[in-house]
């Protein structure tokens, strides 16, 4: 897998087929990017689990923080890493141990050795991307803020189940 650019279909497939996101390095501060990502993914219907050793048991973004991936105790699909690039390796090893299906490293986070390890274990890998931005881009929602989604389509987008101001990753077929 080339990790410099990803086909839209690859990202869309990951976001459509997985429901449980563990957010490693979740901050208690409501001004940090991890908070915005958790709130947005939860609003889109994903099951979001904040993970942070120092915050275990506290509530962040309306969810109880689990100290480590191993302590989550239920299947995790995507491990979303809000740590520095070096720390991403150990997180990846733990994610493989708990049977996660996707390693997702946030913007600014890239560890090619971790990516190789994960891919050899059969996981998919996304690096240096944000799932909130990717969901917003592929659904078209991000264009409401004037952001270039770099997508074109003449198919009608489908509204989300919750109302007029929500889009999904699916088009009218």
């Amino acid at each position: 897998m080339n990790h410099d650019t990803y086909p839209d279909a690859y990202i869309r497939d990951i976001l459509l087929k997985h429901a449980v996101f563990a957010v490693v390095g979740a901050s208690a501060k409501t001004t940090r990017p991890s908070y915005y990502v958790m709130k947005y993914l939860a609003a889109k219907g994903y099951d979001v689990i904040p993970v942070s050793p120092g915050l275990g048991g506290r509530t962040v973004a309306d969810r109880v923080v689990v100290p480590s991936l191993a302590e989550i105790g239920r299947p995790v699909d995507v491990v979303d890493i809000f740590r520095n690039s070096d720390a991403a390796f150990a997180v990846t090893e733990e994610a493989i141990r708990i049977g996660a299906k996707v390693i997702w490293m946030q913007i600014g986070v890239r560890n090619d050795a971790a990516a190789r390890l994960a891919e050899e274990a059969g996981l998919k890998v996304v690096m240096n991307r944000c799932p909130k931005i990717e969901y917003g881009r592929l659904s078209g929602e991000i264009g409401w803020t004037g952001v270039n989604s770099r997508t074109l389509s003449s198919r009608r987008p489908l509204l989300g189940p919750k109302g007029g101001q929500q889009r999904t990753l699916r088009d009218e077929t």
């Binding site: 609003a43 264009g143 004037g146 952001v147 989604s149 003449s154 101001q165 929500q166």
Partner: protein, 428 residues
């Protein structure tokens, strides 16, 4: 469309940002003539106000017709995001409102649209920011004007009305050395002729009023964030790099990464200053942009023929069109905008100021008015109109001396355009 293909410019001009309407299936972007938008529920409302989710709140800050225009412009300029506003000048005002602090300076080319010279010289004085002028034909003059207080450099890609094509790459090198963003006003070129981002622009502004809208029916402006400048690298741009009190301490530069500048312009600049574009204007400009590539090429082809014809006329002292071989900016034009040097240029009448005033009174097809970039051919005598408020020296420097006549060549048959100039020159 398969993912690996990058769509071409013509395709983007028609499609970027515009999907069929999600509720009605309307294929053309509707005019969302509404001030406000119902929230899905209270949580959704809170999430919108906290910038946690994407969506519409109130049309001073965003509107779905405007949003399509923004995404279209970001795509055409190769930027990460854009903000459309009520006019080109509103775009510039918001850019500087976002970048500057009291006591700060920016360096701007002397060869600018007269209104921009006014805006930078007069209007910014009350905000206590200060412009330092430089010569757009000489990158060294920008280097000399930079000081520790400099926060940005501003140039026009093709200067109005001087017919100068700016060596953007050379001035970008100065901006990079100084650690400040380069802002390029790309109004006269449009992204069809030139994409300033390729040469190192960090922020692009346009008056959409001109060739982009293209039909002389709507005033509008846009700011394009190229996503290239690191706002967090220095403490010089606190609006982006410091926690923002009105968004609960969020740091915009961190949260929004490579489109943070466009977001800051919207959620602070447009929110607080208020020059929103009308949905109707956004719609008309979008409609214009769909044919930009076709129109712009014809504008340039006509302009070149008119410039050639004028060069041979005995009442004409000189023609300043970078599209003509022999013009001092022809080399730069061939490098930066080989498809054409735009459709706005100036020429001088041997009989000076009075002849200029007489000529605008004799034309019949040309409209005598203060605009450029219309389907119609336009004419003006800048010294007695657009550049009237400037002193003699500033007028000369801006390329609007007493004998100068400016044309914006339209899309009529070029023979008719030339015939009109012929009869008018005959009559003076």
């Amino acid at each position: 469309m398969s993912e690996e293909r990058t769509p071409g410019f013509n395709t983007l001009a028609i499609h970027a940002g515009a999907r069929p309407d999600a509720s009605t299936g309307a294929r053309v972007t509707p005019i969302y003539q509404t001030t406000s938008y119902v929230f899905d529920d209270a949580d959704h409302a809170a999430a919108l106000f906290n910038l946690e989710t994407f969506g519409n709140i109130y049309s001073r800050i965003m509107n779905p017709t405007q949003a399509v225009l923004e995404e279209r412009m970001a795509a055409l300029e190769g930027g990460t995001a854009a903000l459309a506003v009520a006019s080109g000048h509103a775009a510039q005002a918001i850019v500087f409102h976002t970048l500057m602090e009291p006591g700060g300076e920016f360096v701007a080319a002397r060869q600018l649209y007269g209104g921009s010279i006014n805006q930078f010289g007069e209007a910014s004085r009350s905000s206590d920011w200060h412009v330092q002028w430089a010569d757009t034909t000489d990158a060294e003059s920008f280097r000399a004007a930079v000081s520790p207080k400099t926060r940005a450099i501003f140039v026009e890609s093709i200067a109005n009305p001087g017919g100068i094509v700016t060596d953007i790459a050379a001035i970008s090198a100065v901006a990079k050395e100084a650690g400040v963003p380069l802002i390029v006003d790309n109004t006269l070129a449009t992204p069809y002729l030139m994409q300033p981002k390729e040469y190192g622009a960090d922020i692009i502004v346009h008056s959409l009023t001109k060739f982009l809208g293209g039909h002389g029916n709507s005033v509008g402006g846009v700011i394009v964030d190229c996503g290239t400048f690191d706002w967090m690298a220095s403490g010089r741009y606190p609006t982006l790099s410091e926690p923002c009190a009105s968004y609960h301490g969020m740091t915009l530069g961190e949260t929004f990464g490579n489109f943070a500048f466009a977001i800051a312009c919207r959620v602070l600049g447009l929110r607080d200053l208020g020059p929103a574009i009308a949905p109707m204007n956004a719609f008309l400009i979008l409609n214009g942009i769909e044919t930009l590539p076709l129109r712009m090429q014809r504008h340039c082809d006509n302009a070149r023929q008119v410039a050639e014809w004028l060069s041979d006329h005995d009442k004409v002292a000189w023609v300043n069109y970078a599209g003509l071989p022999g013009n001092s900016f022809h080399g730069t034009a061939m490098l930066y905008c080989p498809k054409g040097a735009g459709a706005v240029f100036t020429f001088g009448l041997k009989d000076g100021y009075e002849a200029g005033i007489a000529l605008v009174g004799k034309v019949e097809l040309f409209s005598h008015l203060a605009n450029i970039g219309d389907t119609r051919s336009l004419i003006i005598h800048p010294a007695s109109t657009t550049h009237r408020q400037l002193g003699d020296e500033a007028r000369e420097r801006a390329g609007a001396g007493a004998d100068v006549v400016r044309l914006s060549v339209g899309l009529e048959d070029v023979d008719d355009i030339i015939a009109d100039l012929d009869q008018a020159l005959e009559a003076i």
